[in-house]
Amino acid sequence: MKTHPRKLLVVIAEAALERQLVADVKRLGAQGYTVIDVRGGGARGDRGADWDADRSIQMEVICDDAVAGKIADHIHQSYFEDYAVTVCITEVGVLRPEKF
Protein backbone atom coordinates (compact mmCIF):
# COMPACT_ATOMS: atom_id res chain seq x y z
CA MET A 1 0.00 0.00 0.00
CA LYS A 2 1.69 3.15 -1.23
CA THR A 3 0.18 6.43 -0.08
CA HIS A 4 0.64 9.94 -1.38
CA PRO A 5 0.74 12.97 0.91
CA ARG A 6 -2.23 15.33 0.85
CA LYS A 7 -3.93 17.76 3.25
CA LEU A 8 -7.13 17.14 5.14
CA LEU A 9 -8.81 20.47 5.76
CA VAL A 10 -11.45 20.44 8.48
CA VAL A 11 -13.91 23.31 8.82
CA ILE A 12 -16.37 23.50 11.70
CA ALA A 13 -18.98 26.16 11.03
CA GLU A 14 -22.56 27.31 11.56
CA ALA A 15 -24.96 25.19 9.53
CA ALA A 16 -26.19 28.37 7.83
CA LEU A 17 -22.93 28.43 5.89
CA GLU A 18 -23.18 24.92 4.44
CA ARG A 19 -24.44 25.89 0.99
CA GLN A 20 -21.88 28.67 0.63
CA LEU A 21 -18.98 26.54 1.89
CA VAL A 22 -19.79 23.73 -0.52
CA ALA A 23 -19.86 26.22 -3.38
CA ASP A 24 -16.64 27.82 -2.13
CA VAL A 25 -14.57 24.64 -1.90
CA LYS A 26 -15.76 23.45 -5.30
CA ARG A 27 -14.90 26.78 -6.85
CA LEU A 28 -11.45 26.82 -5.23
CA GLY A 29 -10.51 23.46 -6.69
CA ALA A 30 -11.58 20.72 -4.28
CA GLN A 31 -12.73 17.59 -6.09
CA GLY A 32 -14.84 16.38 -3.23
CA TYR A 33 -16.04 17.15 0.27
CA THR A 34 -17.77 15.47 3.19
CA VAL A 35 -20.17 17.10 5.65
CA ILE A 36 -21.16 15.93 9.14
CA ASP A 37 -23.76 17.38 11.50
CA VAL A 38 -22.06 18.31 14.77
CA ARG A 39 -22.60 20.31 17.93
CA GLY A 40 -20.01 22.06 20.03
CA GLY A 41 -18.85 25.17 21.72
CA GLY A 42 -16.12 27.77 21.46
CA ALA A 43 -15.48 31.49 21.54
CA ARG A 44 -19.01 32.22 20.32
CA GLY A 45 -20.71 30.19 23.01
CA ASP A 46 -22.27 26.77 23.12
CA ARG A 47 -24.02 25.59 19.98
CA GLY A 48 -26.11 22.64 21.12
CA ALA A 49 -27.79 21.90 17.76
CA ASP A 50 -31.17 22.14 19.47
CA TRP A 51 -32.65 24.05 16.60
CA ASP A 52 -31.82 25.74 13.32
CA ALA A 53 -29.84 28.73 14.54
CA ASP A 54 -27.75 26.50 16.82
CA ARG A 55 -26.76 23.81 14.36
CA SER A 56 -23.15 23.34 13.25
CA ILE A 57 -21.49 21.29 10.55
CA GLN A 58 -18.04 19.86 10.09
CA MET A 59 -16.76 19.85 6.53
CA GLU A 60 -13.78 17.70 5.53
CA VAL A 61 -11.86 18.29 2.32
CA ILE A 62 -8.95 16.19 1.15
CA CYS A 63 -6.87 18.17 -1.31
CA ASP A 64 -3.35 19.24 -2.23
CA ASP A 65 -1.43 21.97 -0.40
CA ALA A 66 -2.32 24.71 -2.85
CA VAL A 67 -6.06 24.14 -2.70
CA ALA A 68 -5.97 23.76 1.07
CA GLY A 69 -4.19 27.07 1.30
CA LYS A 70 -6.66 28.79 -0.97
CA ILE A 71 -9.66 27.47 0.93
CA ALA A 72 -8.18 28.32 4.31
CA ASP A 73 -7.37 31.86 3.17
CA HIS A 74 -10.82 32.33 1.71
CA ILE A 75 -12.51 31.18 4.90
CA HIS A 76 -10.20 33.39 6.90
CA GLN A 77 -11.20 36.46 4.90
CA SER A 78 -14.88 35.72 4.43
CA TYR A 79 -16.10 34.13 7.61
CA PHE A 80 -13.75 34.42 10.55
CA GLU A 81 -14.93 37.85 11.56
CA ASP A 82 -18.67 37.31 11.61
CA TYR A 83 -19.32 33.60 12.01
CA ALA A 84 -18.60 30.79 14.44
CA VAL A 85 -15.95 29.00 12.35
CA THR A 86 -12.95 26.83 13.21
CA VAL A 87 -10.37 25.51 10.72
CA CYS A 88 -7.56 23.00 11.06
CA ILE A 89 -5.32 21.13 8.65
CA THR A 90 -3.77 17.66 8.94
CA GLU A 91 -1.31 15.67 6.86
CA VAL A 92 -2.92 12.58 5.37
CA GLY A 93 -1.92 9.88 2.93
CA VAL A 94 -4.20 8.88 0.07
CA LEU A 95 -4.17 5.91 -2.28
CA ARG A 96 -5.29 7.55 -5.50
CA PRO A 97 -3.36 10.80 -5.83
CA GLU A 98 -5.20 11.88 -9.01
CA LYS A 99 -8.46 12.02 -7.07
CA PHE A 100 -7.51 14.84 -4.70
Binding site: E14, D50, Y83
Partner: protein
Protein backbone atom coordinates in the same frame (compact mmCIF):
# COMPACT_ATOMS: atom_id res chain seq x y z
CA UNK B 1 -54.90 30.22 29.73
CA UNK B 2 -55.00 27.73 26.89
CA UNK B 3 -53.46 24.38 27.86
CA UNK B 4 -51.03 24.59 24.94
CA UNK B 5 -49.25 27.29 26.90
CA UNK B 6 -48.73 24.89 29.80
CA UNK B 7 -46.51 22.83 27.54
CA UNK B 8 -44.35 25.87 26.89
CA UNK B 9 -44.07 26.41 30.63
CA UNK B 10 -43.22 22.74 31.15
CA UNK B 11 -40.36 23.01 28.65
CA UNK B 12 -39.17 26.21 30.26
CA UNK B 13 -39.24 24.71 33.74
CA UNK B 14 -37.56 21.47 32.68
CA UNK B 15 -34.57 23.25 31.18
CA UNK B 16 -34.26 25.84 33.93
CA UNK B 17 -34.21 23.01 36.49
CA UNK B 18 -31.49 21.47 34.30
CA UNK B 19 -33.42 18.32 33.47
CA UNK B 20 -31.89 16.29 30.67
CA UNK B 21 -35.19 16.42 28.75
CA UNK B 22 -34.44 17.07 25.08
CA UNK B 23 -36.63 16.77 22.03
CA UNK B 24 -34.77 15.36 19.04
CA UNK B 25 -33.96 18.09 16.53
CA UNK B 26 -35.61 16.05 13.81
CA UNK B 27 -38.89 15.99 15.74
CA UNK B 28 -38.78 19.79 15.92
CA UNK B 29 -38.16 19.99 12.16
CA UNK B 30 -40.94 17.51 11.42
CA UNK B 31 -43.42 19.34 13.64
CA UNK B 32 -42.54 22.63 11.93
CA UNK B 33 -43.25 21.13 8.53
CA UNK B 34 -46.48 19.61 9.76
CA UNK B 35 -47.76 22.80 11.37
CA UNK B 36 -47.00 24.92 8.33
CA UNK B 37 -48.67 22.49 5.93
CA UNK B 38 -51.67 21.99 8.18
CA UNK B 39 -52.23 25.72 8.64
CA UNK B 40 -51.91 26.24 4.90
CA UNK B 41 -54.31 23.45 3.94
CA UNK B 42 -56.92 24.56 6.44
CA UNK B 43 -56.81 28.09 5.07
CA UNK B 44 -56.84 26.91 1.47
CA UNK B 45 -59.97 24.84 1.83
CA UNK B 46 -61.82 27.94 2.98
CA UNK B 47 -60.33 30.26 0.41
CA UNK B 48 -62.47 28.80 -2.37
CA UNK B 49 -65.70 29.95 -0.78
CA UNK B 50 -64.69 33.62 -0.49
CA UNK B 51 -64.83 36.33 -3.17
CA UNK B 52 -61.39 37.24 -4.48
CA UNK B 53 -61.95 41.02 -4.60
CA UNK B 54 -62.08 41.95 -0.92
CA UNK B 55 -59.35 39.43 -0.11
CA UNK B 56 -57.04 41.09 -2.64
CA UNK B 57 -57.53 44.41 -0.88
CA UNK B 58 -56.84 42.86 2.51
CA UNK B 59 -53.72 41.13 1.21
CA UNK B 60 -52.40 44.37 -0.23
CA UNK B 61 -52.98 46.10 3.10
CA UNK B 62 -51.17 43.32 4.93
CA UNK B 63 -48.23 43.53 2.53
CA UNK B 64 -47.98 47.23 3.17
CA UNK B 65 -48.16 46.75 6.90
CA UNK B 66 -45.39 44.15 6.75
CA UNK B 67 -43.12 46.59 4.96
CA UNK B 68 -43.91 49.43 7.35
CA UNK B 69 -43.37 47.59 10.66
CA UNK B 70 -39.55 47.38 10.35
CA UNK B 71 -39.50 51.06 9.39
CA UNK B 72 -40.98 51.74 12.82
CA UNK B 73 -38.80 49.27 14.68
CA UNK B 74 -35.52 50.35 13.09
CA UNK B 75 -35.29 53.97 14.35
CA UNK B 76 -36.41 52.84 17.80
CA UNK B 77 -33.58 50.32 17.90
CA UNK B 78 -31.02 52.59 16.25
CA UNK B 79 -31.61 55.73 18.25
CA UNK B 80 -33.40 54.79 21.45
CA UNK B 81 -31.59 51.44 21.74
CA UNK B 82 -28.25 52.67 20.34
CA UNK B 83 -27.74 49.52 18.30
CA UNK B 84 -25.53 49.75 15.26
CA UNK B 85 -27.10 49.62 11.81
CA UNK B 86 -26.61 45.88 11.41
CA UNK B 87 -28.21 44.87 14.66
CA UNK B 88 -31.02 47.40 14.35
CA UNK B 89 -31.79 46.07 10.86
CA UNK B 90 -31.55 42.47 11.99
CA UNK B 91 -33.93 42.92 14.90
CA UNK B 92 -36.30 44.99 12.75
CA UNK B 93 -36.37 42.15 10.22
CA UNK B 94 -37.40 39.67 12.91
CA UNK B 95 -40.21 41.92 14.13
CA UNK B 96 -41.32 42.80 10.62
CA UNK B 97 -41.89 39.15 9.84
CA UNK B 98 -44.24 36.77 11.68
CA UNK B 99 -44.23 33.74 13.94
CA UNK B 100 -46.34 30.83 12.75
CA UNK B 101 -46.53 29.25 16.17
CA UNK B 102 -47.80 32.44 17.77
CA UNK B 103 -50.44 32.47 15.06
CA UNK B 104 -51.31 28.85 15.84
CA UNK B 105 -51.67 29.69 19.52
CA UNK B 106 -53.95 32.55 18.43
CA UNK B 107 -56.07 30.09 16.45
CA UNK B 108 -56.34 27.84 19.49
CA UNK B 109 -57.23 30.83 21.66
CA UNK B 110 -60.09 31.86 19.38
CA UNK B 111 -61.32 28.29 18.92
CA UNK B 112 -61.55 27.81 22.67
CA UNK B 113 -63.63 30.96 22.98
CA UNK B 114 -65.74 30.13 19.93
CA UNK B 115 -64.73 33.38 18.22
CA UNK B 116 -65.26 33.16 14.45
CA UNK B 117 -62.57 34.41 12.07
CA UNK B 118 -61.98 34.52 8.34
CA UNK B 119 -60.88 30.96 7.68
CA UNK B 120 -58.40 32.11 5.03
CA UNK B 121 -56.28 33.94 7.61
CA UNK B 122 -53.31 31.59 6.95
CA UNK B 123 -52.93 33.45 3.68
CA UNK B 124 -51.79 36.44 5.71
CA UNK B 125 -49.12 34.41 7.45
CA UNK B 126 -47.60 33.58 4.08
CA UNK B 127 -48.00 37.15 2.82
CA UNK B 128 -46.50 38.74 5.92
CA UNK B 129 -43.49 36.49 6.20
CA UNK B 130 -41.25 38.05 3.56
CA UNK B 131 -41.75 41.84 3.34
CA UNK B 132 -40.61 42.58 6.87
CA UNK B 133 -37.44 40.56 6.44
CA UNK B 134 -36.55 42.23 3.18
CA UNK B 135 -37.10 45.75 4.46
CA UNK B 136 -35.23 44.99 7.68
CA UNK B 137 -32.23 43.70 5.77
CA UNK B 138 -32.31 46.70 3.45
CA UNK B 139 -32.21 49.01 6.45
CA UNK B 140 -29.38 47.06 8.00
CA UNK B 141 -27.29 47.26 4.86
CA UNK B 142 -27.70 50.96 4.20
CA UNK B 143 -24.37 51.71 5.83
CA UNK B 144 -22.70 48.76 4.25
CA UNK B 145 -21.69 49.78 0.75
CA UNK B 146 -18.54 47.68 0.75
CA UNK B 147 -19.90 44.17 0.37
CA UNK B 148 -21.73 43.15 -2.77
CA UNK B 149 -25.37 42.56 -2.05
CA UNK B 150 -26.19 39.22 -3.71
CA UNK B 151 -29.86 40.18 -3.73
CA UNK B 152 -31.03 37.48 -6.12
CA UNK B 153 -29.67 34.81 -3.79
CA UNK B 154 -31.16 36.54 -0.81
CA UNK B 155 -34.60 37.01 -2.33
CA UNK B 156 -34.72 33.35 -3.23
CA UNK B 157 -33.70 32.46 0.31
CA UNK B 158 -36.54 34.57 1.71
CA UNK B 159 -39.32 34.00 -0.81
CA UNK B 160 -38.65 30.28 -1.19
CA UNK B 161 -37.84 29.57 2.42
CA UNK B 162 -39.55 26.50 3.72
CA UNK B 163 -42.23 28.38 5.64
CA UNK B 164 -43.53 30.27 2.63
CA UNK B 165 -43.32 27.22 0.38
CA UNK B 166 -45.22 25.02 2.82
CA UNK B 167 -47.82 27.65 3.73
CA UNK B 168 -48.50 28.69 0.15
CA UNK B 169 -48.25 25.10 -1.04
CA UNK B 170 -50.74 24.00 1.60
CA UNK B 171 -53.07 26.90 0.73
CA UNK B 172 -52.94 25.99 -2.94
CA UNK B 173 -53.53 22.31 -2.28
CA UNK B 174 -56.44 23.02 0.05
CA UNK B 175 -57.91 25.43 -2.46
CA UNK B 176 -57.52 23.07 -5.43
CA UNK B 177 -58.75 20.01 -3.58
CA UNK B 178 -61.69 21.60 -1.77
CA UNK B 179 -63.44 20.27 1.33
CA UNK B 180 -64.60 16.91 -0.07
CA UNK B 181 -61.28 15.75 -1.42
CA UNK B 182 -59.49 17.01 1.69
CA UNK B 183 -61.78 15.04 4.03
CA UNK B 184 -59.64 11.86 4.08
CA UNK B 185 -56.57 13.77 5.29
CA UNK B 186 -58.56 15.57 7.97
CA UNK B 187 -57.63 13.13 10.77
CA UNK B 188 -53.97 13.76 10.03
CA UNK B 189 -53.77 17.45 9.23
CA UNK B 190 -56.68 18.86 11.27
CA UNK B 191 -57.47 16.58 14.22
CA UNK B 192 -53.85 16.20 15.33
CA UNK B 193 -53.08 19.88 14.95
CA UNK B 194 -53.50 21.00 18.52
CA UNK B 195 -51.64 18.03 19.97
CA UNK B 196 -48.72 18.62 17.65
CA UNK B 197 -48.76 22.26 18.65
CA UNK B 198 -48.41 21.19 22.30
CA UNK B 199 -45.30 19.16 21.52
CA UNK B 200 -43.90 22.06 19.53
CA UNK B 201 -44.48 24.46 22.40
CA UNK B 202 -42.76 22.06 24.77
CA UNK B 203 -39.70 22.27 22.55
CA UNK B 204 -40.02 26.07 22.32
CA UNK B 205 -39.95 26.20 26.09
CA UNK B 206 -36.76 24.16 26.15
CA UNK B 207 -35.15 26.38 23.54
CA UNK B 208 -36.16 29.64 25.18
CA UNK B 209 -34.79 28.45 28.52
CA UNK B 210 -31.55 27.34 26.87
CA UNK B 211 -31.11 30.89 25.58
CA UNK B 212 -31.79 32.53 28.92
CA UNK B 213 -28.10 33.50 28.97
CA UNK B 214 -28.49 35.61 25.82
CA UNK B 215 -31.37 37.38 27.50
CA UNK B 216 -29.23 38.48 30.40
CA UNK B 217 -26.60 39.83 28.03
CA UNK B 218 -29.19 41.60 25.90
CA UNK B 219 -29.90 44.34 28.37
CA UNK B 220 -32.88 46.22 29.66
CA UNK B 221 -33.68 48.08 26.47
CA UNK B 222 -34.21 44.92 24.49
CA UNK B 223 -36.40 43.54 27.24
CA UNK B 224 -38.67 46.56 27.04
CA UNK B 225 -38.57 46.57 23.26
CA UNK B 226 -39.63 42.92 23.26
CA UNK B 227 -42.83 43.87 25.08
CA UNK B 228 -43.60 47.36 23.79
CA UNK B 229 -42.93 46.66 20.13
CA UNK B 230 -45.53 43.85 19.94
CA UNK B 231 -48.06 46.03 21.73
CA UNK B 232 -47.44 48.83 19.25
CA UNK B 233 -47.40 46.49 16.25
CA UNK B 234 -50.45 44.66 17.54
CA UNK B 235 -52.37 47.90 17.75
CA UNK B 236 -51.34 48.77 14.21
CA UNK B 237 -52.31 45.29 13.05
CA UNK B 238 -55.69 45.51 14.73
CA UNK B 239 -56.32 48.90 13.16
CA UNK B 240 -55.41 47.63 9.70
CA UNK B 241 -57.61 44.58 10.21
CA UNK B 242 -60.48 46.74 11.27
CA UNK B 243 -59.99 49.10 8.32
CA UNK B 244 -60.07 46.29 5.79
CA UNK B 245 -63.18 44.95 7.49
CA UNK B 246 -61.95 41.74 9.00
CA UNK B 247 -64.19 40.25 11.68
CA UNK B 248 -63.24 40.53 15.36
CA UNK B 249 -61.51 37.15 15.15
CA UNK B 250 -59.69 38.05 11.94
CA UNK B 251 -58.64 41.38 13.39
CA UNK B 252 -57.28 39.63 16.47
CA UNK B 253 -55.26 37.29 14.29
CA UNK B 254 -53.88 40.07 12.09
CA UNK B 255 -52.88 41.94 15.25
CA UNK B 256 -51.26 38.79 16.57
CA UNK B 257 -49.30 38.40 13.36
CA UNK B 258 -48.17 42.00 13.39
CA UNK B 259 -47.13 41.67 17.03
CA UNK B 260 -45.28 38.41 16.55
CA UNK B 261 -41.60 38.18 15.69
CA UNK B 262 -40.16 35.55 13.36
CA UNK B 263 -37.73 32.93 14.60
CA UNK B 264 -37.76 30.48 11.73
CA UNK B 265 -37.42 32.39 8.48
CA UNK B 266 -35.85 35.61 9.69
CA UNK B 267 -32.84 34.19 11.58
CA UNK B 268 -31.76 32.12 8.59
CA UNK B 269 -32.07 34.95 6.10
CA UNK B 270 -30.53 37.59 8.35
CA UNK B 271 -27.57 35.40 9.25
CA UNK B 272 -26.57 35.29 5.58
CA UNK B 273 -27.54 38.82 4.61
CA UNK B 274 -26.39 40.70 7.73
CA UNK B 275 -23.59 38.55 9.12
CA UNK B 276 -22.26 41.42 11.20
CA UNK B 277 -25.37 41.39 13.37
CA UNK B 278 -25.23 39.37 16.57
CA UNK B 279 -27.88 36.67 16.23
CA UNK B 280 -28.08 36.34 20.00
CA UNK B 281 -29.69 39.80 20.27
CA UNK B 282 -32.52 39.21 17.80
CA UNK B 283 -33.27 35.80 19.19
CA UNK B 284 -33.18 36.94 22.79
CA UNK B 285 -35.81 39.54 21.99
CA UNK B 286 -37.96 37.54 19.56
CA UNK B 287 -37.83 34.18 21.31
CA UNK B 288 -36.98 35.10 24.84
CA UNK B 289 -39.32 38.02 25.39
CA UNK B 290 -41.86 38.54 22.64
CA UNK B 291 -42.89 34.95 22.04
CA UNK B 292 -43.70 34.14 25.67
CA UNK B 293 -45.32 37.56 26.10
CA UNK B 294 -47.56 37.09 23.08
CA UNK B 295 -48.78 33.60 23.89
CA UNK B 296 -49.61 34.51 27.47
CA UNK B 297 -50.63 38.16 27.69
CA UNK B 298 -50.39 39.53 24.17
CA UNK B 299 -53.11 37.59 22.41
CA UNK B 300 -55.83 38.44 24.96
CA UNK B 301 -54.78 42.10 24.68
CA UNK B 302 -55.02 42.05 20.88
CA UNK B 303 -58.39 40.36 21.19
CA UNK B 304 -59.52 43.12 23.52
CA UNK B 305 -58.28 45.80 21.11
CA UNK B 306 -60.08 44.07 18.24
CA UNK B 307 -63.32 43.97 20.18
CA UNK B 308 -62.91 47.58 21.16
CA UNK B 309 -62.41 48.65 17.55
CA UNK B 310 -65.45 46.70 16.40
CA UNK B 311 -67.86 48.25 18.86
Amino acid sequence: MDPVVYFFVLGLAARLLRSDLKLPGVLYESLTIYLLLAIGIKGGVELASHPAGPIAVQVAAALGMGAVLPLIAFPLLRYAGRFDCYNAGAIAAHYGSVSVVTFAVGLAYLAQRNVAYEAYMPLFVAVLEAPGIIVGILLGRMADSGREARWPLLLREVLLGKSIVLLLGGLLIGWLAGPTAIAPVKPFFFDLFKGALCLFLLEMGLIVAARAGDLRKAGAFLLCFGILMPLLAGTIGATVGWLVQLSVGGTTLLATLAASASYIAAPAAVRIALPQANPGLSLAAALGVTFPFNITFGIPVYHAIARFLHT
